[in-house]
Every structure is written in C-alpha cells, then in structure tokens.
Symmetry: C2
Subunit: 128 residues, 2 copies
C-alpha cells in the first residue's frame, strides 16, 4: 500500500510538472497582432493623413514591439493598409488592449473612421 | 525654333528620368505576401499534417525569403493558420507565383483542400 501511495504521489508530481510546463509555454508564446483596414476617408486626403498619424502614435504604448505600418497592395481583398506589431506574451497583449491610449483611440477614431477591417493574430514560434 | 526643340528635348529627357526612377522604385519595393487559411480537414488529422508538410515545402522555391508558418489565434476571423513570406521585388514574387512547384501545389492541393482563405500583400519599406 505504501508503495502504491508513493507511486501515485510520483505520478501526481510528474503530472503537475507537465501541466505547469505547458501552461508556461502557452503564456510565453509570442503574438504577432495584425490588422488590415480601409478608411472612410479618400486616399491622400488630410483626414486620412491625420488618422494614420494617430495610428502610428500607438507604437509608443509600452510592451508593443516591432510596429509596422504598411500599404496593402493585393487586389484580392478590400483593404488599403495594414499594421503589424508583436507582444512577448498574451498578458502584455492584454495590457496593450486595455491601455487608456489604445481604448481612447478605438473609441474616438477607429470606430468612427474605419470602413472595414480584419484582425489576424499569429502565434510566433521563438525556436525554429 | 531650334531653342524650342532643344527645350522640348530637355523636357523629354527629364520626363524619362522621372518615369524611370518611379518604375525602378516600384519594382524594388519589398513585398510581404501573407495568406490566412482554414482547411477542410479536421484539426490534428493526418490529412491536415500532410497538407501542412506540403505547404512548408514551398519555402524552398528560389527567391522566397523569411518563410513563416503560424497558428492563427484570434477568434475574430474564421482562419486557423497563416503563412508569411517576403520577396525582394514584384518580379521575384511573380517568378514564385509561376514556379512549377507553386502552380502544381495550388492545382493539386490548395484548390481541393482549403475551405476558406484570404491573401494580404504588404509593401515593406526598407528604410525606416
């Protein structure tokens, strides 16, 4: 009986270690957050330029890495621009989403001036 | 009259130089080609694994740089996976599109096994 309890205890410890490792890996997965979008403003207008300036200001929110603003050039979708950024893990991504500057930008600019958009978030493998 | 011809000739040369410069810039723009997709196969099935192996083989096509295969994790779109790759310019991107391995992959696998997909192509600025 003592041996059985010992074995069960060892199994429990092993199980805990495997679970913990999986959770830690999941939490540490790097995330590339991308958004393709099309504005209500005409291309080249001062309203568009002003909006894009506000988008680029998001790059200074803490935790945001590798910010890219890009022209979208495929004719196979309706979007004119794209942004891409990376976060070290889901927690830092959540902190960005809840940051007052991001919340204010979404409420005051994004919801009013964007005609159409699509978010794609990718899990980035750090090891090859 | 000779002066007018001379001026017109200078304008023609200037025009040619501006056009050539614009074309050269456009041709040298780096492109990030991305495709988000969802397969007809169940997640974790051997058919899915076989398809993903075939996708990853595309990475060896000449001219293709920075190939990435990623899990798509946002719930705000229907896609499960994404691939990203870069080309030094539009000409090399076209060569990839027309490469026999790519053409065969699209005909024999992509069109039959993919349920839904979206292509987004971004112009990458080389200078910051």
């Amino acid at each position: 009986m003592a041996q059985l309890i010992k074995n069960l205890f060892i199994l429990l410890i092993l199980n805990f270690l495997i679970c913990y490792n999986t959770m830690a890996q999941s939490d540490s997965s790097r995330i590339r957050h991308t958004v393709a979008f099309k504005l209500k403003h005409p291309i080249g207008s001062s309203e568009e330029q002003d909006f894009l300036k506000a988008v680029k200001k998001l790059a200074s929110i803490p935790g945001l890495e590798k910010f890219e603003f890009m022209k979208q050039i495929s004719k196979k979708n309706p979007f004119d621009y794209g942004i891409s950024m990376e976060f070290a893990n889901q927690k830092i991504y959540d902190q960005y989403n809840n940051h007052p500057d991001h919340v204010a930008f979404v409420q005051q600019r994004w919801l009013k001036e964007v005609e159409d958009f699509l978010e794609l978030d990718y899990e980035i493998k750090i090891t090859d």
